[in-house]
């Protein structure tokens, strides 16, 4: 079944808005926890890169984007992680606003 259909079923099952809000709120909370765990992992890995290369991630990203640091594979991975971290922070903010 399509997830949107599942949501429709859920909506029909809980005609009371307060009850539905509670159920959806719990789902959002689960998603939020998953995202926060992922963010923690990203930050741990970013710290590893920062220690290894003696540079803050923000500084690194700016310099990497400006083409000052070369094309080492580690730098690509670091930049990718930094971008994923930025994206997950946005997702977390959206989830926090919704829950």
């Amino acid at each position: 079944m399509n997830p949107l259909h599942k949501l429709e079923v859920l909506k029909d099952t809980y005609p009371d808005k307060a009850e539905l809000d509670l159920v959806v709120g719990k789902l959002l909370e689960v998603a939020l926890n998953q995202h926060r765990l992922r963010l923690e992992r990203y930050e741990r890995d970013l710290r590893d890169f920062e220690k290894r290369y003696g540079m803050e991630s923000e500084t690194f990203y700016r310099r990497f984007e400006a083409g000052e640091l070369g094309d080492a594979m580690d730098f690509f991975e670091w930049a990718g992680l930094y971008e994923l971290r930025r994206d997950i922070i946005e997702r977390i903010q959206r989830l926090e606003m919704a829950s």
């Binding site: 930049a79 990718g80 992680l81 994206d87 997950i88």
Partner: protein
Amino acid sequence: MKDATDYLAHIKALIILNPQVVHWTVVREEAQGDLGLFRYRLTLRDGGLLELFERFQIVEERLQVTRYTVFIGRMPMVSCASAGITRHTIRRCQHILITFMITRKQMCSRTDQSALKTSWLSSLQKELTERGNRNAPKTPLRTPFDVPRVRHSARCLARRRRLFSSRVVRRPTHDQLSRLYPIGRTQPHRDSLWSQHPDTLRDALAACFRRADQVIHSRSTGSRSTRQLLGESHAVAGDVERAAASCDACFRGTDML
């Protein structure tokens, strides 16, 4: 492609099924909804190393690669073994491998396999010609693994011998190859199988990886009971067996020919 997990499963299936790859490790792999990245380290049949990185996004079921890099190295086997070190000499540019990478990328984003094969072969030919190879074939190549043998001049060969005399990586012998590939299924045989049945094998393996990823994901989030996980693990094992059976069926089919 539905999402990043789907694409990663696809890539892994392609890597496993590619006869050039004998071993590979996952350095990093992330799938975050429609965003993702991977960094894989591959050991190739000729002893070469290939490290790939991609940062990608799936937009409306279409793949967009936002960052992409590849490093190709050759392991100096003799000197590494004698010195007890694991240093690899990283080099870029090996025309055949670059083309191999391009093929892999195209196979992920295109469905027309015959057009892809033609375009890949023509790009390989173009690449050989552009690199000043006087021995580049004048006639079109017939199969993806029909790679022309490069002939070096005597002066060039002497220079190469001087430079790499102690750590030359030789082409694997027939005995070595038959240890890697079971008897009766020689490498050229597998190469031709790969070119004939890429869809069946790739799809079967991609399905296995998707299932495996789902199981691993549910395990990490703790959202499933152990009983369910066990059942799903068995299902994945079943998928793998079925994929292996379909591979065997393909091999047997052509053995009989």
